[in-house]
Symmetry: C2
């Protein structure tokens, strides 16, 4: 594989290890997702039987280097917004108990070059607020609820 | 003033109220800052004698609508990175005790159109991690430490 999982004690390897601790579910709400190592970790979880759901931004999912197509092809459920504004969240929830959130977009550029923060929170109050937001978005972006331009007229 | 402070119970008005609770210090670490209402709140604190320090991204501070020039003109201390990567944080620390952080850039577009999150945290462990990062950046971006291309050769 051209993109081995990161080893050692880097910020990226720590993030991957948190993700790989998932046993039942991984809910991802990501503005931009182009980092191959993170995509590989998500695919690995999917193959292990972890229920992965991914929400992303419609305008960024088609950009060069995006991993969204690859993840869809692997059978992972992906939903996206249909607004002109951005779906700008960048968080993950592992097993409905661990929230990983911050300024970091899941791109190679951000990981390599930017000054970023990632918070890992297990406080139930915070996790619930983000899990509720995830469930709202997941329903709102259900393709069954799509509206089309012709219907808006 | 063309940009009154927001009233009512919107996400923006709640954010402004948290900021205006500052009595001694406000440390801002913001990738992008173009929201006039938030700039007005920061200026108000500066006029009240609160010590305001602002770190921002060099590539975004000059963009159309940026409030950085206005804040500098008002006498607020501003420092910026000098890297090609982004200074991508978006956090504020009020009185070294309340951390406000998340996905939200302080732009009108983000506030009006995007799906975003803002966490308010008073847990000392989290606040300290971000305060330490702020102090590191503040020193690193001290103009006295600037290097120039000619020196790198």
């Amino acid at each position: 594989c051209p993109c081995p999982l990161p080893s050692g004690d880097t910020a990226l390897s720590r993030l991957v290890r948190r993700l790989l601790s998932a046993r039942r579910s991984l809910d991802l709400c990501l503005f931009s997702f182009s980092c191959p190592q993170l995509a590989r970790a998500v695919q690995l979880l999917h193959r292990r039987g972890v229920r992965v759901r991914l929400v992303t931004d419609a305008q960024f999912m088609g950009l060069h280097g995006s991993q969204i197509g690859r993840l869809r092809h692997a059978g992972i459920q992906v939903r996206h917004d249909q607004h002109s504004g951005y779906m700008h969240h960048k968080f993950a929830i592992v097993d409905r108990r661990m929230l990983i959130t911050g300024s970091l977009n899941w791109t190679a550029q951000a990981i390599q070059s930017n000054r970023e923060n990632v918070l890992v929170v297990e406080d139930a109050e915070y996790v619930k607020a983000f899990q509720d937001e995830f469930e709202r978005i997941w329903e709102e972006y259900n393709p069954a609820n799509y509206t089309f331009f012709s219907e808006k007229q």
